[in-house]
Amino acid sequence: MREVLEWCLDTCAAERVTYADGRFVRTQSETITMVNGDVTRLSSEESVGLGIRVLVGHAWGFAATSDLRRAEVEAATARAIAIARASAQASRRAVSLGASVRSRGHFHTPFAIDPFTVPLEEKLALIASADAAMAAVPNIRVRQAMLAWDRHHKVFGSTEGAWVEQTLTETACALEARAEVDGQSAARSYPDARGHHGWTGGFERVLDLDLPAAAPRIAEEAVRLCTAPVLPDGRTTLVLDGSQMAIQLHESLAHAVEHDRILGHEVSFAGGSFIGPDDVGLLDLGSPLVHVWADATTPGGLGTYGFDDEGVPATRFPLFIEGRLSGLLSNRETAALSGLVPGGVARAAGWQRLPLIRMPNIHLEPGTHPDLEALIADVDEGVYMATNQSWSIDDRRENFRFGTEIAWEIRKGRLGRILSRPSYQGRTQDFWRSLDALGGPGTWSLWSVPHCGKGQPRQFARVSHGTPAARFRNVKVGP
């Protein structure tokens, strides 16, 4: 594909554009979905194409094509240049990309077992076994099992001289059991909800997660939820598992530090942020326990890569230290605008999409409580919620309400009854201020967010968050 990309960059150079880059992407995806024992999806998908981004003066143009014949590539390049020139005529803003990026290199996701080489028959047998284990539990109405594996081969080149090639391999699995008892319905998932728990890496992690062994537990919990008492309204101490903490972090802090949101670039669609452009170093969440890092180098994360889609090398940098805002997620343009260093966080959902500021892996550092038992030991009355089920937050990332699949009441330092329909709500800064304990490294693990939506045309990104269990005081909870 070097040749195709060189046609496009040569054309751009001949047209004397200010800057241009091109991305060739080939994505291969295979998925198995089993519903109630039937294979409802067995698919092999491939998407191949080229995206060309051009800066003319102070205006951008972008075009993409799935037709890689020379004439079509040149037509797409001409389209990108024409769009940029049309925009340049009336542009009122100054675009700077800061220091040149001349990255050269390769990156490949490490794995032990290539998911593409595991026989389909073996994969089908694995999820059939998990399905059968769920089916053995009475009152399970819907059983779903899923395995998916993707490979993204990306080549990036720019008129500044950058040239990087990457091969990212992702694997994912999920189980869900939905029970129905006396007209009441409830669902439990494993390893996580939303039908997709993913990572960069190979099939070895699927084997480690042992889906058939977990299947009876989630099926039994789903049944118990159908007749469990509903979580009553009130304010109480709330302990969240790592899965729910991942969504809490994702929605309330990770999106809020996206520089394009802060600058108002996303105000009409994804929304803005409660954080202002000059808040770095000043905004304090009021909890010294909050240490949040952006890290595109974490082994196994869905936001792990060697270079972003502007060719900037992946890196690790702080966003909050002891609760104080320490950094933003910036691409080359917004970083240059504000005198920051680009964070290597520009990513596109495919060859046909423009790179946007997309969070890499965002982690909340663990605390000192060694395990869940230690977190709840000194809780006289409270609730422990696990596995995200629903999420809603306003367009400034302040007013949120999240639901989980399951909750347990906490009484005198011990877990008690299962409670159904759990949810909690609050305002972002008040909520983080109420954080009073974090689980230690033993409670910390990577959780995935598989469908993070942003941009127009819509782009869905995958990302992971490393989060521990956590405890918050005086939180509004209810059904």
Binding site: S66, F269, Q425
Partner: protein
Amino acid sequence: MTTQDPLNGWDEATLSTLTAEAIDMCHADEAEIVVMGTDQQLARFSRGNILQHTGERSLEVRVRAIRGRSVGVATTTDLTRIGLERVTHRAVAMAAAQPPDPGFPGLAQPLPWSPIPATCHPATLHVTPEEREDAIRRLMAVVTGSGSEASGHHATECRVVAVRNSRGVWAHHAGSRAEWSVVTERKEASGYAARLTPDHRTVVPERLAKEALARTLAGHPTAIPLAGRHRVMLEPYAVADLLTMLAFTSFGATAVAQGTSFLVSPGSDPVVARCVTLRDNGLDPLMPALPFDHEGVPKQQVDLLRAGMAGDCVHDARSAFRSGRSSTGHALPPPNPYGPFPMHLDMLAGPTDREAMLQALGDGLLITRFHYTSVLDPRSTRITGLTRDGVLEVRGGRIVGALRNARFTQSILDVLKGVVAIGSETLIQSSFLGCVRCPALVIEGLDLEG
């Protein structure tokens, strides 16, 4: 500049040849080829600047290969002969690897369908980048002239869908879409307007700007609405959000089969106010219509809510087979484990003009749209979400000021039971899986959390 004809290479004759070749290459008992093409140009603007302006042209082939009752699906964007050979080979390999699927109904039989006239407007297909930027700048000029700022997007697009199967189905459709959204801001006040149409000439950017501005200029939002049940008028944008979530939770046959839809046991009483009728209508040329689904089955109009009573769900071939029905023509593209979906929601207008709607509201809140609605319980249709871009206070049928955004948590059916007036004008908007046409509604009770 002039633009290349988006339909170049995507016309019926070319895609007929391509799909026929792909069928021939597919060494299976049966085969289905779905071709989907998108040629889209889209510009995003924010606070006075055009930030992104993009063009995308992609054509994708999806192959379903059947061996016995085993089904494999493969897709590609590589339409070279080698690419087609590979994708058909992969589909056959997928089918060969799996056990027979007892729920597979077989491929669709050919049924007559009628093309929908006037769904592909050359004027929309040939909008140039310069014309798109000019339209946006005209919109922004109106907004900045009032001391406000405008953000949003404007897209023009050509979409092509073609379906062929080895039982003789052949269907081809090309349609155009023009889409606008605009958020206007003045300090903490904001407004919103949006349109979706096959013919971009029907949208006047300056009018769209004025519609959004009217909400922004209604007042500076001061207080949060009091917690409790409010009488509200929902603009069509807010109504579209509710209807989309209702379709997502309830009107696909899979949700009914899995017991998560209220249609499982609707009872004999009205489920919403008797004045409410909602249908799926993929055949109306004023919407981005599609005369057949992605299995090549002709689309039927389906009454989802009929004069307040629960209506029918939509089916694809698989769900129809399992429930002893016929497909209503609502299959999504393969591979699709989610089942059928109503992509063209159409709520019937009422008799009440806008001034009379505000009078019917009397004292209450005028809500522009919702944000980030999320399902808490699909069976009861209970959702949570927030207001966005304009909560206006109305007293005696007159807008008197603006309030801040607030969260609501309520069953959609409960909200629609409280419909007391339906607007006479409808708007067509894009939704996450299709489009919605709906009017404004006056609602007796929306539960805001303050």
